[in-house]
């Protein structure tokens, strides 16, 4: 969904002089110093209000556990269950008997290992390309500021308003025969890596961050004889860890979830990621094996999320993640 950029609080270098400290400060729920929200301390002391909100909160938490955690726990349970057990006791979260060999069998029989490696390769390449494009373009536009920068930036931003699905076919035909080069990228990972770089939202985020870096830093460096590349590599990038983290999380999560584009350009099963392979495997696979495959595809993004949940949940630029 590239048509529109959702509202995103963007970290700034001025506000975040020390990235690690700032990230913990940013992410901590401002509970202790928060004066109040809709309800005041006085409201909480009133019996009727307290009972009403407590019960609503209980319902909410039960619903969140039931919808957020239980389906995933069920997936874990189903992945290590026998098919008969699944049919007989579909609502249980405890497998009986636990068949751990499912995971190994799914890994071997379905070739999950290969698809997982493909997914990692596709995600890593897309991440690298997006990071290179966003930082170099952001540096040129925000710091070097050539006279034509404004036009180029406008050209980048325009693409935000053309959803990827609209140019899907033309992009596919471009991949089949790169204009002027006569090369086809079909069935190659480049077909996923390179278009991932043409993502204006990253440039927008990075440019806004770079814009806030005090220009005196570059002028001082220039007096010391530093060239643009030195400024880029030694000053700007080390200062930009917060925004690089945001762009990295965004690009990695998006690339891991990507489905339609790899489905179109990677028709050779040997190159496909899990997301493309799983629906194909679902056609004729023992359900227990398939769910083991689903579980394997889900664990890495869940781990990334849990590791970075403070940054993510605190509302830092998580956007465009919805397929």
């Amino acid at each position: 969904m590239t048509a529109t950029a959702p509202p995103t609080p963007i970290p700034t270098p001025v506000a975040d002089p020390a990235p690690p400290a700032s990230s913990s400060r940013r992410t901590a729920t401002p509970r202790p110093e928060r004066a109040r929200s809709i309800l005041s301390t006085f409201d909480w002391k009133r019996r009727s209000t307290r009972i009403g909100w407590r019960s609503m909160h209980t319902v909410l938490l039960v619903a969140l556990v039931a919808l957020g955690a239980v389906p995933l726990l069920w997936m874990v349970r189903a992945a290590i269950s026998t098919t008969t057990d699944l049919v007989n006791r579909p609502l249980s979260l405890i497998p009986d008997p636990a068949r751990w060999s499912n995971i190994v069998d799914a890994w071997n029989l379905l070739g999950i290992g290969q698809y997982l490696a493909n997914t990692v390769g596709l995600v890593a390449g897309s991440w690298a390309v997006q990071l290179i494009v966003a930082t170099t373009a952001g540096f040129a536009l925000a710091i070097i500021r050539p006279f034509y920068g404004r036009i180029v930036y406008g050209g980048f931003l325009v693409t935000l308003f053309v959803p990827g699905t609209v140019t899907l076919i033309a992009l596919y035909l471009t991949i089949l025969d790169l204009p002027g080069l006569g090369i086809s990228l079909a069935d190659s990972w480049w077909a996923v890596w390179l278009p991932a770089g043409a993502h204006a939202f990253n440039i927008l985020l990075v440019r806004q961050f770079f814009d806030e870096i005090p220009r005196e830093l570059f002028e001082a460096a220039q007096i010391d004889g530093a060239g643009w590349f030195t400024i880029f590599w030694r000053i700007v990038l080390p200062l930009s860890k917060p925004i690089l983290a945001v762009v990295s999380l965004l690009s990695i999560m998006t690339a891991w979830k990507d489905f339609l584009w790899p489905l179109i350009v990677l028709s050779d099963p040997a190159t496909q990621p899990l997301a493309v392979a799983l629906p194909r495997l679902a056609q004729n696979t023992d359900p227990a094996f398939l769910i083991a495959g689903l579980l394997i595809a889900t664990i890495p993004p869940i781990l990334i999320f849990l590791a970075f949940q403070r940054q993510i949940v605190s509302g830092i630029g998580f956007s465009g993640l919805k397929g």
Binding site: A5, I38, G68, V133, I169, L173, A198, P301, K322
Partner: protein
């Protein structure tokens, strides 16, 4: 935490040329500094210009051309005027797909707008467990869409092992033929899409809620406003902009729905879940009819441009208020 629509608030600084002037110690004249900045800028812009050129700008332009051409990738493309559009409008599936897509959008807004808002308001009032609630609500968003669709396809299984029907059986409902009935198939897809999308909306609402000044609640309370009056007259007006933006984002997203119908039902039963994007996909990659597929993409783009224009107007009035 301020929320501003990116792309609107960052008009490039108008004093570009001055800003690139070297520091006074090395002043060698504006002209050469300007030229050096132009060259250095070009070097750094090279990766983005090449990739945008090939994979953004060229395909956008080519889409417009392709809509009026016939191409089969073997013989050179030939101009066919509006034949692609004529073929499209003669396709009896087009109205079905348009109505299905609209139905999907309406349903997903009916569920996907109020529920995240309510959850966010409740979560923001949690005194303990707020982080847990945020993590739980965002977990489904992290699950790859293909996995959530295949997982829910298992849940909706009509047979004995179907989780949803077993659950409903506990309260004496069903079993219902979720994905097998033309009436229930689309609501099933909406359930899955909402499950995997609501977390994002909840987090955005929560960020907006934390931006409401507590003085306003204080003042409202002193004026004797009840809790619900505070929600109605303080919270909701402050959130109006975010709600409108999310509404439009959800419409844009819903109009492009693909993974759910493709993986879950493949458009069935009886074409009840054929969407516009599924039609584009079929025209191009099943029938090899790239011209008609692009013509439909261009039509979809027209609809989305209208929606985006509304979005822009809304965000502009919101960001200045």
């Amino acid at each position: 935490m301020t929320i501003a629509p990116p792309g609107l608030r960052d008009a490039p600084a108008p004093r570009v040329a001055e800003a690139t002037a070297p520091p006074p110690a090395r002043r060698r004249g504006r002209g050469s500094a300007r030229r050096r900045a132009a060259v250095a800028g070009a070097v750094f812009l090279l990766p983005s210009l090449v990739l945008f050129g090939y994979f953004a700008w060229w395909p956008i332009g080519r889409s417009v051309v392709l809509a009026f051409q016939r191409t089969n990738l073997v013989s050179p493309a030939e101009w066919v005027g509006t034949a692609n559009f004529d073929a499209l409008f003669a396709d009896p599936l087009l109205p079905t797909a348009a109505l299905n897509t609209l139905w999907f959008s309406v349903l997903s807004l009916a569920i996907g707008l109020p529920i995240p808002l309510l959850c966010a308001v409740l979560i923001s009032e949690l005194r303990r467990g707020g982080t847990l609630a945020r993590v739980l609500s965002y977990l489904p968003v992290v699950v790859p869409p293909v996995v959530s669709v295949l997982l829910w396809k298992t849940f909706f299984n009509p047979g004995e092992g179907g989780v949803v029907n077993s659950l409903l059986g506990l309260v004496g409902i069903g079993p219902l033929p979720w994905l097998q009935s033309p009436e229930l198939a689309m609501p099933s897809l909406v359930i899955v899409a909402t499950w995997s999308g609501a977390g994002t909306a909840i987090l955005i609402y929560l960020a907006a809620l934390s931006g409401v000044p507590s003085e306003q609640y204080e003042a409202a309370e002193l004026d004797g406003a009840s809790v619900w009056q505070r929600v109605r007259f303080v919270t909701l007006p402050r959130l109006r902009g975010v709600i409108l933006v999310l509404l439009l984002l959800q419409i844009i997203g819903a109009l492009q729905v693909f993974t759910e119908p493709y993986v879950m039902t493949d458009g069935g039963p009886a074409n009840a879940t054929v969407t516009i994007l599924l039609m584009i996909y079929r025209y191009a990659f099943l029938f090899g009819n790239y011209g008609v597929a692009t013509a439909l993409s261009v039509l979809l783009a027209g609809v989305l441009v209208v929606v985006s224009a509304v979005y822009l107007r809304v965000t502009r009035s919101w960001s200045t208020s």
